[in-house]
Symmetry: D2
């Protein structure tokens, strides 16, 4: 029986969780699948390591971490809160394997430099995750099908948040899910910042299922509050970092230029970057997508840098050798000024289309349930000894300060060279500060 536990469980050493514990042959086989192993070649944080050099960890390690947090939650639920003990609010133990699987696979559709790549080639990593899970040609589908014919579809449902059991979906995606908890801790560890840390062990001690999802006992309130604050801190310290965004923009502009050049010199690209052709031509299949990883793109960039297309070569070199664009904060009122800047930049010989960008980083660290909004969020519930629940921001002044208060940073990016003695540019730039 494939759902049985392994006789000898496997332990993988992990810097964040100490050990990742593998208890089921299904999970071990999924980890060993081609599609999961591919995540070793895709960095979790894209261009972040150009700024925080330590953050070179892959999506593979994060996926193991999400699995491990989900495993610990299920273990607690099975031991303390099974439906056998509490039919109304308890946890259905038969959902365990599904939950673990969804946790492990939730990011399997990520591709090379995903977030940037998607903008240029109109791919979508969430859709591809579900495709990988439900397409007969993948190893993952073959493995999942050993559980049952409907299992792949169920896993996809959980990831798409339309699985009927809200406890399962909230472990995988909600405002305090296994995904976010792992990436905050992991990104903090690898960047070497101290902001993303929070007390995971206490959160896990107080997590509690109820009919409509998961809640946290009162004694965990401050640990959950600290987790929200950590999210906010990591956004400002790491995820919004101006130089990280500068490298992303450099990458995006490079891919955009290649895309634009392709119709004019397809032969060149077929030779230097064969695996990208289906994307240039918008005919890509799942297998094409799975052939890409960060290293493949970098390999093409090395070719382009040495190649004949001068701007392409120049942009590829800027990316490979870390020459980030510079930036200035702007507000709504700075639009005219930016057009003036762009003119200067064009006059200096840089095509603004490939050498500038207006870029906004944006995040909402937390929000309570607002039925009227576009993206409705499952609010975080704190459970009291008397059985009542209260929404988190009603209890914490810190969370209240962040709830529904989007954190945003808008910057205009331009070539560093503009700062070297271009007097007109400097004059316009100086006006931004006022």
């Amino acid at each position: 029986m494939y759902t049985k536990k392994l006789i000898h469980e496997k332990m993988f050493r992990d810097p964040i969780h100490n050990y990742i514990k593998i208890e089921y042959p299904l999970i071990l086989d999924l980890i060993n699948s081609k599609e999961m192993q591919r995540l070793r070649r895709i960095r979790q944080l894209g261009t972040t390591s150009f700024t925080f050099h330590g953050a070179e960890h892959s999506r593979f390690t994060h996926s193991l971490g999400v699995y491990e947090i989900a495993r610990r939650i299920c273990e607690i639920f099975n031991q303390n809160y099974s439906q056998k003990m509490n039919p109304t609010n308890g946890w259905d133990s038969s959902e365990t394997l599904l939950t673990l699987t969804a946790a492990l696979l939730h990011d399997v559709g990520h591709g090379a430099y995903s977030h940037t790549f998607e903008k240029i080639f109109d791919t979508n990593h969430e859709q591809i995750t579900c495709k990988i899970i439900t397409s007969p040609q993948t190893e993952i589908f073959q493995i999942l099908s050993k559980i049952s014919a409907t299992f792949p579809e169920q896993v996809a449902q959980v990831i798409q948040k339309n699985y009927p059991n809200p406890q399962v979906t909230q472990i995988i995606s909600s405002q305090i899910d296994a995904d976010r908890m792992d990436y905050l801790l992991r990104d903090a560890y690898y960047t070497g910042t101290k902001y993303g840390t929070f007390d995971l062990s206490r959160i896990l001690r107080t997590i509690h299922p109820f009919k409509n999802g998961i809640a946290f006992k009162e004694s965990g309130m401050h640990a959950v509050e600290d987790y929200i604050v950590s999210r906010y801190q990591m956004y400002w310290q790491v995820y919004f970092h101006p130089t990280i965004r500068a490298m992303e923009i450099g990458l995006k502009n490079l891919l955009k230029l290649a895309h634009d050049l392709y119709p004019h010199d397809s032969k060149y690209f077929k030779k230097t970057s064969p695996a990208l052709i289906p994307f240039f031509e918008d005919t890509f299949q799942l297998k094409d997508y799975l052939d890409l990883d960060d290293g493949v793109l970098n390999t093409y960039f090395i070719e382009w840098e040495k190649g004949k297309h001068s701007t392409l070569s120049e942009l590829a070199g800027r990316f490979l050798n870390r020459h980030p664009l510079k930036s200035v904060s702007y507000t709504k009122d700075s639009k005219t000024l930016m057009n003036e800047l762009k003119k200067c930049i064009a006059d200096a010989g840089f095509d603004p289309l490939y050498y500038t960008e207006m870029n906004s980083s944006y995040d909402l660290p937390y929000d309570f349930y607002r039925p009227e909004t576009q993206e409705i969020r499952t609010q975080i519930e704190i459970l009291f000894a008397n059985g009542k629940m209260k929404e988190l921001s009603s209890l914490s002044p810190l969370v209240a300060a962040l709830a529904g208060n989007p954190q945003k940073d808008s910057r205009f990016y331009f070539p560093k060279e503009m700062l070297n003695g271009n007097q007109k540019f400097s004059e316009i730039l100086a006006k931004f500060a006022t």
Copy 2:
């Protein structure tokens, strides 16, 4: 003046040393050079992350770390032990920039999966390091030459250990140098093991120059002892790990097969792996070497996996998708048995040339000075309050137990498939245990 300090020093956040502090424009420019940035695309520990998944850090981060430890040593020497204060045993402050530069660049010649690659293509990362430093076509040479015409050569001398000042060379390479101290701490952090940690701050507090090199004050003896023990522990826990070596062997066999096939189908390889051609043909130049990185090789392996050469495809897939060989420990007496095993393996359809290996891991955690040996080592000296020095192993029973006592592990590697019901194979294998 290019040797002046930066007006605003730069700080890079580092998980091991908290901050990497850049004080000189020279160092900043070197870090930003093409040849250094390339190290971001080469993992410090090659195939180790297939076993310790967290250990995905690059040679770039390690190089920064070695620089930082060297910087702290120089800072201490300049503050407390300059030649002005102590003409006989003191530190010549004018050596600082040379020391920092050599520390930063000591590994710049590492290439894609260096240790494995070297065995097949007869490259040598140490020679290439010196070539990068002294060849006019590199950015690094151009930057170094701004200091003086002879500076590149001096840096190379330090790295080759024939620079006249032993204090400088010992900071860069000795049995307790900035290189080893950084990699032990860094590898322990990224693998998530706890064995590599030792008390760097105490070692740095007690480090002390003398006429013939560097020594450590008596109060640091136990910290130095702990560092040696950590080395020993890391060898057995990480560096000798059987599965890490299995993946290395898989990689080596893959490259060996490609090398062997090349004369028979050069067209295929020119198409699928263009940057390797100069290595197949043994005509490579420095620039060819610098075009390679882990991602480029992986990109070629992806092509090979999809390609027409069935064994090549099979070995490429085993590497990319992590199918390590299995292994058994052997002794000198097991030679005959191994030949029997190889015969079984060949009978099962696996060419022993590409599917097996006899592999010995070997390290000497420490040794004192033995003028009669081939590789003479600078022994670690402990300095007493009365000015006398004693060699470390004469003071520590732990170090004495390791000194001149090579740690070694010999294993025979074979395909995992041999363990699935091949009775004859199993019978021979069982004899190894006795």
Copy 3:
């Protein structure tokens, strides 16, 4: 010359700061003084270790920590921001020794279970600190006088915040001073909670003197924000903990009862608790105060527990053997209910005067400058590259949420025995929840 540096600086191993570095003979002599050594016998957190058992650290270790943070600040100021470089906003290096001394001695007037003791015997640890510093009979005064006749008085001025140089006073006491930074980190470490940690190294990297005090560079804004959040978290997780307060109340009631009994049986107290007599009689001198420590009081409690006064014995036993009162949260509207509770308690044989208390914990994690308030606070200033400064809460939504928003928790304490089957008590208690 007594202001010269030590030839061999001393290093004390410290779990929080790694090393405490002693550079001046003055500081070493002060640490070795009788009055400072006495702080080893007084716990930093009074009764906290009854709840967080790890928190048994003394005021001595905290004093060393405050000194070390101040030392690092002065080191940075002397190196980077001395008045020689910047006459207007720079740091006057000749203030260093005064600052270090004030940091080390700022808590030297703390006594046995200070906060509780003060309420009963009307002592004041801040006044006593200044007395110790300025009274000719103390070792500390004798040591300080070696610097100059006016030095003791200057140190006292800094501690009383009326020293003219605001940079010096703000390092010692402000909303982000060496005192608070050390105790947050230290209390978090010893309790084993993770809430009090923040990035001290980054705060120190961005600290900057200006004419009217100290500020923090923009790059440190989030680290300072995180420090404020840590304060808030430590209040709720540790300092306001209901059981910690229960033990404090038990101690206070015990001392109150002894105080009340003394006039009726002074002979008993003269025999069992001689060192307390000057406090019972309100005739205490500085030397009497310095004779007390936690151990002396506990020794008396052991005697009282074995003694003839039954309620005194009972309360002493409750304290020594950790029998905390229980509590319930109350609001302004619960006054009547509390009187009913007290009646029940009296009916059950417990004198409400010694077995109950209404207790409010209160703290303001941060506030900006409000000239109209009673306790005017020096607000935290963030310094921008253009030289302008902004107040912290105007930049951080988290700090804004806490600024001027006192954190408060009010509880009514009563004997645990009341929960064992006293129906009437339970009924009244149940009304508090509504």
Copy 4:
């Protein structure tokens, strides 16, 4: 039923183990007993905090830690290795509560400054531990008796190592027991040294019962080896520290002098140190012993310092205000020199009986089973996959270097004043170095 588990388990926050988990009412009641609470007033490391100021933790926190490690071992044994699964080598689950109890209580007989006190007053903390457990007048006995009439005796047997089940006794005392594992980690944490740390989680993952005790699976060999090395390191870095021993000697000489003076002025001591009288007169009962703690002794020392006996006052002041003796290493050959030193010291007015000591620190970090020795040790066994076991030092060159190799440091202690210009003394002292 008193052996049932608590409905709501209690969690105590602990800096070393994160949480101490209390599952049984028996354990909670024992923790809350008068005799256990008393351990809060006795420091784990006696005079160590005079040198490592952070190490102010009590025997109470250590006792909780030993309990927690034992609890985790039992949990693993009950889950994976119960006798139901493996009748020959398995763990008898009914021993769990006994094991936890013995772990918690194993140090309950420690008294004020135990190790020093015992030498003067001929007490024995191990015997007293058993007395506390088996004497009807203690709260602990009363609580234990609720389990069964024979339970107190069983607990005492485990602690005295004559309980028949070797698995139980080895968890509590062997060369790798819960006691040692906790104190190494805890002492390292509180001193702030890094030497005592080892990988407890891995050791616990590989611990395995067998018929004659406990063993460790092969995969834990290096973790166990690291634990032995940590012991060795902690001895040299902390436990043997010359200044720690100096303060112990100062304390011992102080108590010795009081003991010697008592017959001549018993009235004085009855007034200033009443609780010591039964010890001066050698008539002490268990209750007398339990009345003492570090604070009580310190309180008496404060009295003595102010008192009329000048040498007693002087020695009390030296201890309270931290004036350690100085020391020099000696060998067997230095005996004559030491007599010369003593003569100088006597000539300078210090009675050698109370102002000097020859002191040897000694420890054997590990030894294998040697039936011929006086103190036979249970060797550490490593269990291989084939079921065979090997003794640890046969596998590890590091442990082999330490096995049966006692670590020893011999020093002669004398008053610091002797170093101030006593020429004759200095001349003799100089001969020790040769």
